[in-house]
Symmetry: C2
Subunit: 667 residues, 2 copies
């Protein structure tokens, strides 16, 4: 041990410290629990969320939940949004339904957009972390960092016993950790987290410092700030958010509405003639979330609105004007808040690949597109496996740079999308074609439909890097960070034309060769920390193709990729295109595709077939993936299901696969 460490005998050590236990922090802890990494996660609040906050779950978030095994819990409890209705003023100024469209494009995913409050989602994460960490990783609540020191001389040294980060933590009492509710209301509100409220972190620290004890020093290898829009971590690093608030002020009500508005259980965008706009988001248990434009509340000279003027009563009054002539009232309000739309994105997402920022800490925008929680979780989903593999000593630390290049680019795209969408939604509808100040409702509908694909999270396309072997310039395709590979290997996109390098591996129905059960193939790409070599074996009953498969498998079987220290990080899956009943697992597929375990026999869960099911029809997965049924190919996916590499199914192709991994793994 280095001498300077011995002078601090009370400091404990951990591999990763996470600040903030919202959806982003919990997503990160979920990954790290799978890698069995020594992690701590702290949150300044004394209890988890029970109402309000973000609630929309996009398709990609559900796919990710499914890869961890708990999408079904969300799917069962949530409200499913199926149709989006647009309400606009007619020539008489009275609102009427102008359009009905499916809430998400048909055929995009096996999931649809659903709505469930953040507290339940946090519960699923917590249960999952408990199970996968054997209850060793728990959120430490009412704990917040009060100082951060980074040993800059040692940040570049990623050797396993180097802990260059020192964090002092303060443990709060129960009272200290409880946020004050605004306005003396009985209903819980989210104003304390809103951008209309001042941050209370410094107050919490100041009041706590007056008492004795309650501090602790932790040394860590890596730190991740998932601590929200007021991020303490970001402030310590001196990183700024770029962007400006707008003048649009919105209120949010979670109520059980009593109304004669016919589409109250549909997602609705309502543009009134002159009273502002409203978004209706139906939720679980008869709840409905209303996003309501507060046209009568304006920012003051400082550019910020006076929050004391905003109450549930002012918000519902604004809503009643927008939705007139329909009646709207409530007896039960579950939660409420208000915010001022602003689009801002962090200049930096990471400091020296040692301290990272995720979620609201690096991007803020309006909540109505239901993106905030989703993009935040997906930040952490992108970072978690990279940190896991580096801490484990399996992957080269250079891959950590791709976090900023991949996710800052996404945040920039999100802000652009939100900027456009917010303006169209907050603007007054055009009275007629001559009304150039007003918003054309046709433009709004088009923006909504285009935005739908973006909002699904499925259009994410990461740029070239050591993790995504595609042509082009890494800085251009990302946020400017140089993450180009030293290996210069390029995947052969044409061999799997619909399985795009840099995008998530699509899902189609396939059958297990051994028991004929139908699966969405993506379900087999569990988020268990492993890269996957996906062998599109093609038509294995053709002797020529069988020869190619055998030669690929011979190379695979003797490759260091399947050596004992890597086998927990690389899995082989096979999808062939012959008739299921014409082939047999043991006879037609080399052992490496379904390994024998001395205690538990052959692996019956790694070889699949693109064939007709008894009960669930047929979808032609090979066509879906854009792969030739005869000759197949090989696809490599990252632990987060994004496609990293594609090559031919032969010895030469396998050399390409090995080269791809050489750019990532520690040799």
């Amino acid at each position: 041990m280095a001498p300077d460490r011995q002078t601090q005998p009370k400091a404990s050590q951990c591999d990763v410290i996470i600040v903030g236990a919202g959806p982003a922090g919990l997503m990160l802890a979920t990954w790290l629990s799978h890698y069995k990494i020594n992690t701590r996660i702290v949150d300044k609040r004394g209890s988890k969320i029970y109402a309000g906050q973000a609630d929309g779950l996009q398709l990609r978030s559900l796919e990710i939940f499914d890869s961890f095994g708990f999408a079904d819990r969300a799917w069962k409890e949530a409200n499913h949004m199926v149709e989006m209705c647009m309400w606009n003023p007619g020539s008489d100024g009275v609102i009427r339904r102008s359009d009905r469209v499916p809430d998400v494009p048909v055929g995009l995913s096996r999931f649809k957009q659903i709505v469930l409050h953040q507290g339940r989602i946090e519960r699923f994460f917590l249960d999952h972390i408990k199970k996968h960490s054997n209850d060793t990783l728990r959120v430490e609540r009412a704990v917040l960092p009060e100082s951060l020191r980074i040993d800059e001389d040692r940040v570049a040294d990623h050797s396993p016993d180097n802990y260059p980060i020192t964090v002092q933590l303060r443990h709060l009492s129960e009272d200290e950790a409880k946020p004050a509710q605004s306005n003396g209301s009985n209903v819980s509100d989210g104003l304390f987290r809103s951008n209309l409220a001042d941050d209370d972190t410094e107050d919490l620290l100041a009041s706590s410092r007056q008492k004795e004890g309650g501090t602790e020093t932790v040394r860590a290898k890596y730190m991740v700030g998932c601590d929200g829009a007021h991020s303490w971590t970001r402030k310590q690093l001196g990183f700024e958010l770029e962007g400006e608030p707008t003048d649009y002020i919105w209120g949010v009500l979670d109520i059980i509405p009593i109304t004669n508005f016919p589409d109250i259980r549909m997602r609705c965008a309502i543009h009134s003639a002159a009273a502002g706009s409203m978004m209706v988001i139906p939720r679980e248990n008869k709840l409905v979330r209303l996003y309501i434009q507060l046209t009568e509340i304006k920012p003051d000279a400082s550019g910020r609105a006076d929050r004391s003027k905003i109450t549930p009563e002012t918000i519902i009054t604004a809503a009643q004007k927008i939705i007139a002539p329909y009646k709207l009232r409530y007896e039960y309000c579950d939660w409420w808040t208000a915010y001022q739309i602003g689009q801002r994105v962090g200049k930096n997402f990471a400091h020296e690949s040692r301290v990272f920022l995720a979620g609201d800490a690096v991007h803020t925008h309006s909540p109505k597109a239901g993106q905030g929680m989703n993009v935040s979780m997906q930040d952490a989903y992108n970072l978690g496996w990279k940190l896991g593999l580096v801490v484990k000593g399996v992957a080269q630390p250079s891959i950590l740079k791709t976090y900023q290049s991949e996710r800052r680019r996404i945040a920039q795209d999100l802000i652009d999308f939100d900027h456009k969408f917010s303006r169209l939604f907050s603007g007054r509808p055009a009275k007629d074609v001559m009304d150039e100040e007003g918003v054309n409702m046709k433009d709004f509908k088009e923006a909504f439909l285009k935005g739908n694909l973006f909002a699904s999270g499925l259009s994410v396309d990461y740029g070239t890097s050591m993790l995504v072997a595609k042509p082009g310039n890494a800085a251009d395709q990302g946020d400017g960070t140089d993450v180009s590979s030293q290996i210069h290997v390029i995947g052969k996109q044409a061999l799997a034309s619909e399985t795009k390098l840099g995008m998530r591996f699509p899902s189609f129905q396939v059958l297990n060769q051994s028991d004929a059960r139908a699966w969405e193939f993506q379900q087999k790409l569990k988020s268990d920390g492993r890269f996957r070599i996906i062998v599109f074996a093609g038509n294995v009953v053709s002797p020529q193709q069988k020869g190619r498969l055998d030669s690929f498998c011979q190379a695979l079987a003797s490759s260091p990729l399947l050596a004992p220290h890597l086998v927990t990080h690389v899995e082989v899956l096979t999808l062939h295109s012959s008739k299921r009943t014409e082939v047999e697992l043991l006879r037609d597929f080399p052992d490496v595709l379904h390994p024998l375990d001395a205690k538990t026999g052959w692996d019956y869960n790694s070889v699949y077939v693109d064939d007709v099911s008894y009960h669930e029809g047929y979808v032609d997965a090979y066509a879906g993936y854009g792969v030739d049924r005869e000759t197949g190919c090989v696809v490599v996916t990252r632990p987060d299901q994004y496609v990293g590499y594609i090559d031919t199914l032969d010895k030469e192709g396998f050399r390409g696969v090995e080269a791809y991994f050489r750019g990532i793994l520690v040799s």
Copy 2:
């Protein structure tokens, strides 16, 4: 209080006492927890099942689980059986695959047959009971009855303060409640529950009686013996099982097989030329259950086989002979048992509508068709709501007689099925057409396919009674018990030609009118204790049909059926056939179909439409139910989803509905 009760001050009281906490006992407790009935459930074993025992879940059982809300848990954890393979000897005597068939007929249900061990299923019940009883109803383990006294003078009086049953319970110590394992094996076995083992109830009681204390007296209104093939309750009543054991002895192994047999993950029926037969049931976690005919072990003079000769080693040796030339061995055995096939059914399922028997207590048969646990649970599913409604004072006690008439008939059918199937499966395959002693493999296949529908549980068709208003003789259609209605009302089957009186309400996809979400309509018939009036509203945009609907609803709204004391027992659901977008809930449907609650607004979950979905296609539910799209009809379902009544959608039809309920409910 009556004087005789005061002389027993220590006796506690409950409405229902259940003896045995296997799947039947737990199903009953599940129902009673929904009705908030004061229930006790005791089991002589000190802990629940962790391995082995029954494992097949049939389609109807999954539908029932879904109606309670936990089918998804079973569905997710279980192994799904998709294909059934038949292996028979060729002319050279070597086994080969002769057929592949879907394990359940295509299109029968949204579920398929799955396999999961009984311990998990019991866990789902226990979690559900805990939740719905607010943790007040718990299984009391290591508790067994030692005396039963029935006050015969008072059994006919079903008034709420009459407790004619007195049971003395004995509480065992932990050691006493633990069954001894056979043969000194390390692997847990089920021989102690097998019909090859003697019952240990009397031993348990005798050893416990030598100690002091530990007894308790309970007075109950009703008692249900779910206490297995050796049922103590049945013996107290002096009821007999009818039927005889056969000479066929079978062993059961739950192992992780190491084998080159290609269909080890399929359900297989293997007939060897001369070494006996074997059934392969693939299970969760790489486990496979093997049912293995033990041709070398024969019953002795007493008619029973010597259980000491049976070990896992003798069973696997028999299996290896049957499956040759394929190799089969294991490193891990999870559980094993052996049994002698016998088909027996109880003469009586109930004593004076006060003490009931369910499950193995009244029917035993071979386990290979996967019927035992399913039929047992369905016994209790049939009984539970009837007991619940009678204890609540809502239904007339006479409905309790339908338990025996409905379920004993099913048990008789099951025994007939099993008798035939067992003979075909245990018999030696015919060598050629001249071999009359052997079993013709074509006959076996035919019996299997026919049996498949029976085994699904979906062909159950209860006879006419006060609960099923169909023509014919109640005694003939049931087990001989007279359960004919005093009301003489007959449902109009032709109005819903595919929704059969006496059978379970079929399921087709429909959409929620208010949010366009697709549902299996059966999912809306929750097992929450309620009858349902299902209004097939037809084409409500036709003024004529709207008039009929309004007049029906007028009668419904003023009916005592929806009076406060009944509204928790009768729910109204609507399915119309107009275009979803051409109607509006509040404008086109009378309030009684979607009632207004002063606190929570309109009910948006009771009106559905048979229309095209965005993401899940269209199935034409009206055609599926056999109902005219224009004029509709009304269907009444019992709390267990069985169809009780059908009539026209008008005032006269509603009078029929009222008459049907008059035969069931306390006026």
